[in-house]
Symmetry: D2
Subunit: 487 residues, 4 copies
């Protein structure tokens, strides 16, 4: 872990002046026009860019985002938010609240980095800044910052409008595996929330009523009895046998689960030396499906396969769930509003330099799907899509109406979790996409305060999609946050 530099404090001081920003009117008045929101964000683009760049410069892994979290907290505090930190048992989790009463609109921030993805910004070749160090391959430096910008602009609009209502920023750690949001949900931190706005860095601009795959991950460890493999193999019980029998039954199971299920695994420990019957074998396993409720049923069967393998090979098995993310429950009501606002904001326009960089970067991709230029457009509104990714935003979405948008922070064709994504997330292209996201979210928040029938409709849709009153949110996640999962 590197130490934050003095720059953190400089930024925080700069941010301290924001509360006086473009100036909210103290008196009640008709809802201020959207233009003031856009102007508020435009006016502070450089400051937001500096925040995003600092986080990018100091990438921190899940649950270890001390300085990234602190920087966003100070930014929001400086803008007039009240921060509660260390919530839900996670030192780097926090909420930042402004206003009071309903409606309560939540805006979600993330800020964790990925291991081994260190990469120089704005260059079109693989070049690690620090070998094996983390990097922002998923653009969460932009994610957390844009959401803060959206929250601040919303706060100003709310103040200017003189309406009741609360805007709350959620600083959610460890999206890349630790599942910070799950614990914030379990801690009841979303109990009073009416709608949730999130976004994610992408190579296009879109606001769909789309979903993700629910995802359960675990480590399975088989324990056997060691013996000399040549002299006394009959005295041994191979833990690797247990693991391989488990894998075999998982592969048989593939035929007998819904076809959009995914089961995948790797073997992490498979014995020490070939002349010793292994007494320990361990693998990492994941199962995914578009519906967590279906997935939980499949997971029960996976556990039985593990038990059956242990029983049949004279070994013992234990498993530790490391991740449990619900699929995102789409909300067409909110998606329609978000899409309208994203269209209003528009896409990302490249400068000549950015265009040149984008072209070079695309030359490093094997088959860049979307055409260059598509970053300037907003995709049509779609529904029914299910992405192959998984996110702990899913857990929120089954408790509160949630909408997510994508903004083109990456050059078209650049996938998340690539060095190219890191290079974009640290460049002006990333900043431009981040600003698009901030504006679209703030406009949507304003719409929700202005017309609370939207919230009613969104809640009604959530109720319906969950299958009515019978729904109960449950999770297989470990009871306490796995704070050391990246150690």
């Amino acid at each position: 872990m590197r130490r934050p530099t003095a720059a953190v404090f400089v930024l925080a001081l700069a941010a301290a002046g924001w509360a006086a920003g473009p100036g909210p009117s103290p008196a009640r008045q008709a809802a201020p026009p959207a233009g003031t929101i856009l102007a508020s964000i435009d006016a502070r683009t450089d400051a937001y860019a500096a925040v995003a760049k600092q986080i990018w410069d100091h990438p921190e892994l899940g649950f270890q985002e001390e300085h990234s979290s602190a920087l966003l907290q100070s930014t929001l505090t400086a803008a007039g938010f009240t921060v509660t930190k260390g919530v839900a048992g996670m030192p780097t989790a926090f909420t930042a609240t402004y206003g009071s009463g309903a409606p309560v609109v939540a805006i979600i921030g993330e800020f964790d980095a990925l291991p081994g993805m260190s990469q120089a910004a704005g260059v079109s070749e693989r070049l690690a800044l620090t070998a094996d160090a983390p990097g922002h391959g998923c653009g969460h430096n932009l994610l957390g910052t844009a959401s803060a910008a959206a929250a601040i602009a919303t706060k100003e609009w709310l103040a200017r409008a003189g309406r009741p209502g609360t805007v709350r920023y959620y600083g959610t750690p460890a999206e890349e595996g630790g599942g910070g949001k799950v614990y914030m949900v379990l801690a009841g931190l979303f109990a009073d929330v009416d709608a949730v706005l999130g976004w994610h860095p992408s190579d296009q601009n879109s606001a769909d009523a789309s979903s993700t795959l629910a995802n359960i991950g675990a480590t399975f460890r088989f324990v056997g009895t060691a013996s000399h493999a040549a002299a006394a193999p009959d005295k041994g019980r191979s833990a690797l046998d247990g693991l391989e029998a488990f894998n075999y039954m998982l592969n048989l199971m593939r035929e007998h689960v819904p076809q959009d299920t995914r089961i995948h695994y790797v073997v992490k420990k498979g014995g020490v030396a070939s002349n010793i019957v292994p007494d320990l074998a361990e693998g990492e396993y994941q199962a995914r499906h578009p519906d967590m409720r279906v997935l939980q049923g499949i997971w029960e069967r996976i556990l039985k396969a593990a038990e059956g393998a242990a029983l049949g090979t004279g070994t013992r098995v234990e498993h530790h769930v490391t991740m449990s993310y619900w699929n995102v429950l789409p909300n067409e009501t909110l998606a329609a509003v978000q899409h309208r606002n994203l269209t209003k904001v528009g896409g990302v326009i490249y400068s000549a330099d950015e265009q040149a960089f984008a072209e070079k970067l695309r030359a490093t991709l094997i088959s860049p799907g979307p055409a260059l230029g598509s970053q300037a457009a907003v995709q049509p509104l779609r529904s029914g899509l299910v992405g192959a990714a998984s996110t702990d935003l899913g857990d929120i979405s089954w408790n509160v109406p949630t909408v997510e948008l994508d903004a083109a922070t990456f050059v078209p064709g650049v996938p998340a979790h690539s060095w190219q994504a890191v290079a974009c997330a640290g460049s002006s292209i990333g900043i431009k996409g981040m600003i698009v996201a901030a504006k679209a979210m703030a406009l949507t928040a304003a719409d929700l305060y202005s017309d609370t029938t939207l919230i009613d409709a969104a809640k009604e849709e959530l109720h319906r999609r969950r299958g009515g009153a019978a729904f109960t949110y449950t999770t297989l996640a470990p009871p306490k946050p796995p704070l050391d999962y990246r150690r």
Copy 2:
């Protein structure tokens, strides 16, 4: 089942004259010389040959040996034995007893045939008498008859000697899978027996203190849930998956059992049509080991593998033990006596015709091991050998001191369960080997009555080999005789 012909009755009448045979002396006297035993058997060779031929002509499968059993009963009754039939819940099982008091010497007879082995006698090519019909591929037509001859000669000697003692013939059905002897042991029919003499048709003459493999066989049936394999495979649970997972774990287990274990299986039912997820799958399994007590431990693990496979594949499993044969516990004390007597009797001398037939028959074998001519010799006494075969004589041998000899009823190189064996068992070569066996057993019985310290020593050896008083005979065999196992 074919009906016995009138010949059966003719033979029985002929046998009726036997009780007056070479004439026992009513008065007590010194033990008669062995020569009288040999003479007794020689004098009736033709009658015994006729019995063996009738059984060969009417081969009957295990537990269906009505006429074979009846013929042996009538032969023994005619010779003065008292027959009890239908013992131990098996219609074709019987005992035939002569004399009273200790020592009680048992002589074991078998008479079941093998399915599909119909073959013409004395011809050197594959030629079924009746397609797919049974045949005496294991020479049990000779086995049951030689043992009867030995019992009769023993009875005459005993009568002549005027000694106390009992000779008892055991008519044991279904050696080829049903395990008649197991049920006779369980019924307590060997409770008063001091020593057991058995023999088996072979291609050599020997009397070793050798053993066999303990053997447990079972049917495992997996039950799943059928569904359309293209339209709804996720609704199905494949019984074949269960079976294949079981097999997989058995194959893993091979590394972790003693190396002289055997596990083998076939798949008998593996689904009906490829577009239906199979709801039924079934296999036949056997496990063997030189020591039943070790094998029972391995069997426990096999059952767990089956349960584990069912658990892991969402299926259900049931199993039915079809066979449980203990390994033969050798007795060196008895083997030494038997070997001495076999050596006294000598091997089988071929006529010119028999020699010509033997040469032709050997030409049909891929690699006939022992040399032609070796049937005339007696092999040296060996101990410590373990044959790959299995027999329900094993179950007797753990309860009473038991010795078995081999006699050369088959041309050297001819293996049991071959058409060549059927051809020999129905020819004069088979009869000659049968007479060797009868003589050697009767001589040994006489020795045991004459010197009961041999029995004491044999019992002491049994006690020691079983591991002392702690031994308890147990069996995994089905509680009742599987009378329909060949139906």
Copy 3:
């Protein structure tokens, strides 16, 4: 095989009068109205019902449909068609042609039954007419007859219209596995055809641009080396090992094929006795995918898995393809026309008796999906659907623009290949559905002759869907029709 009764000849005589039927006008004139088509079919409903009933009464398996084929041939001959029989090397395949020149419209007939499906007609319980005998569980008795009715009505319209054009009935045997149409395609019998009309009995009325799954089926046979499983397992090479290793790799492969692929198998031969290492093992395998071109690639991998399994287990493998059906390539151009005409004809109206029967029959179903009454409606036009079934109509559809419709010959909820389907196919309900199909097809044929731009558009669509000029039709089907596949 049962002999057809005299009724066949009676029917044929009756049919002889048809050529003079409702009377075509000798002179050229404007296209006759659709009403004449409907009237033509209505007028002969009883005769068609009699044909369908005769075929139902004499169900014949694939490639053995001697009398069913002969009856349809005589019906068409009597109506003025020229029949060529025994085409493409299949004794029961035929074509029946009327007219000359383009456009050539093909109408497809099928007439094979399913094994073991014998069932009384019009009764609401399982009741086989002849135990284990075939039955029309797929309603092909109706299929072949309705298509003949459509061809005859089309011929009359064509004659009356005085237009150039050809209508050709294809008598296609062995749809249930033998793939008669594949061989008719390979023989070039569709070379001059402009459009193909087919239909299938169903429990609803619809004409969608839907598809089916391409399907390749084969027998894989592994050959090893037998040996005694206890005495010399190291001398054996288990064919069952080969099969199980093949299955193992297929199950691994499931993860690495497109998720809408299906691979399913059963084990038909897995060894004879557990004490013999199996030298023969055999299974039936199928693979399916919505696109035959993708499936052929997957099939290549399946063959490699088989080879790899043989290589790795010291066995040998051979396979015999038993079925290769392309997915149906939908044609939206033709589907739109067909749907319009089906809507014009309307659904099936039950009498009170039929309603009562339908209710009783539905009571035997576990969960009848569509509501009773839905048989009276026509479903909206859909596209993009892929059914889980497979048909050799697929092979035609990649060579000529093809459209298929469903007509409600079965009570709503009754699945094909059920005894309930047999019961419907032999009852008045089946006949009513058949008439709906006949009318809709004939109307569509008339439209195609009347407006040949439809054919041009359909061909253009076919060209586009096939991927342009580069497409070449290939098949993995056996080179000659497997005429004995049901023997």
Copy 4:
């Protein structure tokens, strides 16, 4: 690697005086009595103990035994041997020769240590001197030194006897895996040798005509195609699938190899992260059998299983043989001589302190087999035994008559490769066992020079056991010594 201390040089200086030792007579004379051999070794016990302790103090892994090798070289040079170092392409391999002409008797020395076995000497608890550092768990510090002592005593005897003949010490590195002897054989270094004497530290004294298991070890690496396991598993080809299919077929193969075969493996690389289809998987495999010629046939089948697995899973496989050790071919002729001399020398007599240490050490063993006190005896001569271990002495034994003895350097019950063995090998107990071995080997060498008919008989036995003139020595070992196998 640690640097040798000054002690090395001190020892070498001391050794320099040895050549003048007990004094060989320059003139020819009758063979000197065995007593002079024993006296020669007794006289230098302290010096040999110092050499053994130095090597123990500086344990070096295979092919890295720079200082151990140098110390033995200087010891032999000082004693009048001519050293050739760096032979057969291995820097730490050497020969040390004295005398000329036939017979040539080779004495084998080893000196490599085992990884991770660092342990304090003479203490009865686990106590590493340096964590994770190597240690002499196989007692090779004693092995190399005793052989040097035997060679020196032999040289003196030879000089005193005035006979022609050569004694040659072979400094053979990397017995624990690298197979130094294999390369010395391949380099022809044993071409002129008439007999080979070896020994090994043990917990008993014995000289049997026993054998070991031939052993082939290899790394198998499967290479597949990576892809995102949730988004595009069909684009991936899992290398782990390849590895698991290979393992599956190996487990099937267990039934079909001779029962005394061993196949064992561990998985070393089984994928990086569960959401990526693994493109690399790697395992370590070993196969063993009492006869290398049988094993080479099995190895061919193992290679085919790997190829089959790759073929069937769309992956690629490569393998690298890391070890190929022939089974030791026993020589009863030499074993009889060696056993006689070992008996003459007698076993190891413990002092009171040693006895106390031995008792404490045995208390740390779970079930110490042989009784304390058995180290003082010499075991009876046995033949036909096959140990479960493997050694590259096997490769020599198929080229030259070879005999090996065991001496009780370890407390009875202490197994090789245990910390207890390290503790013994560094203590006075180890030294005493070493002296027993040195004496017995030197006596045997003297016998061979004295009676060359023994060598003729040993060669004749080798010829016969190899199967006559047809035998050709081949090896699957890598063509060049794997000098970096422990790096």
